[in-house]
Amino acid sequence: MNVFEFMITRRESLWHLTVEHFYLVFLAVLIAVIIGIIVGIIITYSYTASVFALTICQVLMTVPSMAMLGFLLPFFGIGFRTGMIALVLYSLLPIVRNTYTGIREIPNSILESAYGMGMTPWHVLLRIQVPLALPVIMAGIRTATVMVIGIAAIASYIGAGGLGELIFHGISRTQPYRILAGAILISIMAVMADLILGWVEERLMVR
């Protein structure tokens, strides 16, 4: 059987796995966006906190995904939840870091005129800092999404579901077309996410 025959005959279950994979990534990135942007904003107010938070994220990133899953397994068990937590942790760094740098990069003159005219710190954050940092934050979200699409494949190993299942089944049953089908679909998803989010980023940058 070649890979295309396989993909056509099994399109329904492949579609199912693709949706599952997408859902896993989407949910993980969504949670990471909410946590990451809030953390990224908070640490701009304190140098110590920023060093602390960015270092933790950096360390998390260097943990190999297998080791991370193995580490989380005893706490959260086999399945979707452990996979999800691992993916959220991986997406955090680019989002926290980009939120932080995006806000820190805003020229001082802009903030000074905002405060000097009597804007409240809350309004400065919502009307000036976040909108100006948005393209950079978006770039972080894009990096996180593309990265997590790949890592989610590995999370299938502990039963989180998604396209990774094809790959692991392919390996255990020595069916290369399964591995290939999984790899192709994951790549397509990654490329599409990259293009779409890149387009969004570009739109935000237009000033």
Binding site: P107, S109, I110, E112, S113, A114, Y115, G116, M117, G118, M119, T120, H123, I128, P131, L132, R207
Partner: protein, 374 residues
């Protein structure tokens, strides 16, 4: 209106005070210019007035109220603020930028819109054309105008302006200065104006505070600063051509000769010849039936064009004119640039007011020298 009492500012980690025991009072409706070399503490002084910096020692009063007891946000909403880098918000359009303070004050949307259009017109930008543009699409001069409009948005009685016309070419700067002074004549705001350009200080200031290394060296009106500098430092700051600097202080409408002969465009050739014969310059200005300046007829023009029937046929457009709110220094630069011995003076409707000659300027300067010597 604004009073500084023994104000000292020492930045953390620094030995020398950036502002050293400053005492000054700024009267209501006056432009007070802080001038001095780079690093002398002008910006620091200004930023203590809206509590961006807190003084290490001393007190500042606005309208008799100790500002350290006023909520900084409330204080700042009543003080227009223009910083040197302008600091427009790049992601917001011009209207949204100008609306910053009214929005903070929660004005209703239609009132904000109306005010934005009004202000853009005041600073010489067509609201229809510029409302929806982003700051990046504007020239340096236009950005400065938006910066000033934004500071004036909620009509604050006090304005702090840190080199507001610093980032533009000299010609645009002179125009912005003139427009600003014309506006200030009506609005009578209390203004603290920072510059390191002594010419600008003399032109803009009702009072000038000359600063050096955080200390106030002299605080007086421009005339006094020019005629009796307190010490060598101020004398150097003011420079050697003091009497020429006084040309900054006199406006064209104050010095214009209005009794010059002129022609209307319908005047006959006979009266053209007559007037040219009588004139010193062997040339006469021509206006239309509403007194607007059209140009100039010279003796040569008559010789060249024998077919002409009325003065209007012969008039040549001229460039050597200034508006009546220009300073004599502006008039002098126009003369020198165009190599003419005089300028025509028109009002903002381009109506002819008269002329100013190089001789008139020399008189002014000479009078001053005589006065200074006596």
């Amino acid at each position: 209106m604004i009073k500084l009492e023994n104000v000292t500012k020492i930045f953390p980690g620094s030995e020398i005070p950036a502002v050293d025991n400053l005492n000054m009072e700024i009267n209501e409706g006056e432009v007070c210019v802080l001038v001095g070399p780079s690093g002398c503490g002008k910006t620091t002084t200004m930023k203590m007035i809206n509590r961006i910096f807190e003084p290490t020692e001393g007190k500042i009063y606005v309208n008799g109220e100790d500002i350290s007891k006023i909520n900084p946000i409330k204080l700042r909403l009543g003080i227009g603020y223009v910083i040197q880098e302008i600091g427009l918000f790049p992601h917001l359009n011009i209207a949204e930028n100008v609306a910053t303070v009214p929005r903070e004050l929660k004005w209703p949307a239609n009132k904000i819109n109306q005010r934005v259009d009004e202000l853009l017109t005041v600073v010489g930008l067509d609201p229809k054309l510029h409302r929806n543009r982003k700051p990046s699409g504007l020239s340096g001069g236009q950005r400065q105008r938006v910066g000033v409009a934004r500071a004036m948005a909620a009509d604050p009685p006090i304005m702090l302006m840190d080199e507001p016309f610093g980032a533009v070419d000299p010609i645009t700067r002179a125009r912005l200065q003139n427009e600003f002074l014309r506006l200030q004549e009506q609005l009578k705001k209390t203004i603290v104006f920072v510059t390191h350009d002594i010419d600008e200080a003399i032109k803009m200031g009702d009072r000038i505070a000359a600063m050096r290394e955080g200390k106030l060296v002299q605080y007086s009106d421009p005339n006094e600063l020019l005629s009796s500098p307190a010490d060598e430092f101020v004398a150097n700051l003011v420079g050697r051509n003091r009497s020429i600097k006084r040309l900054h202080l006199i406006r064209a409408y104050e010095a214009v000769r209005s009794n010059v002969p002129f022609l209307e465009k319908g005047d006959s050739m006979e009266s053209v010849r007559e007037k040219i014969e009588d004139s010193e310059l062997r040339a006469v200005l021509v206006v239309d039936d509403r007194q607007k300046l059209i140009g100039l007829v010279s003796a040569d023009d008559i010789k060249k064009d024998r077919g002409a029937k009325v003065a209007g046929d012969l008039a040549q457009e001229i460039e050597n004119y200034v508006t009546d709110d220009a300073t004599l220094n502006d008039a002098l630069s126009v003369m020198l640039n165009l190599g003419e011995g005089y300028v025509a003076v028109v009002d903002d409707g381009h109506k002819l007011k008269g002329t100013i000659t190089l001789g008139d300027l020399l008189e002014v300067v000479k009078d001053d020298d005589a006065r200074a010597a006596s």
